[in-house]
Symmetry: C3
Subunit: 133 residues, 3 copies
């Protein structure tokens, strides 16, 4: 089973040639999300605010794909300024419960689309049914 | 089943210690590709030209791995200058049909190998057979 | 089956809200690793030294997750300075045997956490049992 999530309630209408999420069987690949409004314009804020909004979009895409937040196995966060990492971690800790957090990688990019401060991207995987592969 | 694609017709002969693609069962992980010639030297051009050539290499690695372009679920594009995003999107839209596009993430790197302007990387996943997992 | 690797012998004790690795069935997603000591402080060195230590952490996380080095299908390496690529490749070639190397992508970031010179991240996948999916 393959599904392409190209639009969903509350998600930015991309002018970009992408799917918000692509599902193949138990795997869901998510596009990078920024602090955009539903028309695809940057909603600038502090790094914490932008990260929170970017994660809301990521979770909306995930839900539209039929996955749960707890299915996320990997998160990639790109910063315009890594000095913002502590304030983004404070947001992040509330989004994911301790002991069940995704693997993660963070770095400072030289630039992000739309002039955003924080970009988040992820992968979700559901377990096979008991008895399955 | 695990397979390593280390060379294929038209692909750059890497001096780098990598496989162009690694396949495990229904998943195919692809190495980052740039606008290189078959000897592994940069073929400089506009960002659109470099992106087109990088995608040709990505598709060759994918084909050598036994996968189709429509199996691509995720694409990562790194730019030396994000101002090139519109011209690369114009190329990209022709490579992937609307409504069936991969999830994607883009950012501006501080530098790319060989002095390239655009690097593309991806993951492909094939569906399980009906009745399989 | 889903497992979160949050600590293991020799791995940095993260103050960061992450798992070192997340396993779902036959897939293992690994967090980015740097040249840190077990208290999570940077151990600065040459790029080759930092890369070697970062890979030791990646391999420890992988082992704690119950995977082998030969299960790695993809490696992402971020550099603070791509001029360090040749010396890191010299380390890398000894870590992965020719002909069975992961797919890989490398780029220069504008900054890495803790002021590191090299960050490494990866994905490992185990094959299905014969007769499985």
């Amino acid at each position: 089973m393959r599904r392409f999530i190209t639009a969903a309630e509350g998600l930015p209408q991309w002018t970009s040639p992408i799917s918000h999420a692509v599902v193949v069987d138990r795997h869901c690949y998510l596009s990078g999300q920024l602090s955009l409004d539903t028309q695809g314009r940057l909603l600038p804020g502090t790094a914490a605010e932008e990260a929170h909004r970017a994660f809301e979009h990521l979770f909306r895409a995930l839900a539209a794909a039929g996955f749960e937040r707890s299915d996320l196995v990997f998160i990639d966060i790109a910063f315009l300024d890594l000095a913002d990492l502590p304030q983004v971690n404070a947001v992040y800790e509330r989004l994911f419960p301790a002991g069940q957090r995704p693997a993660r990688t963070v770095y400072q990019a030289a630039g992000l689309p739309f002039g955003g401060k924080v970009k988040v991207q992820g992968v979700a995987v559901r377990e096979a049914e008991a008895g399955g592969a």
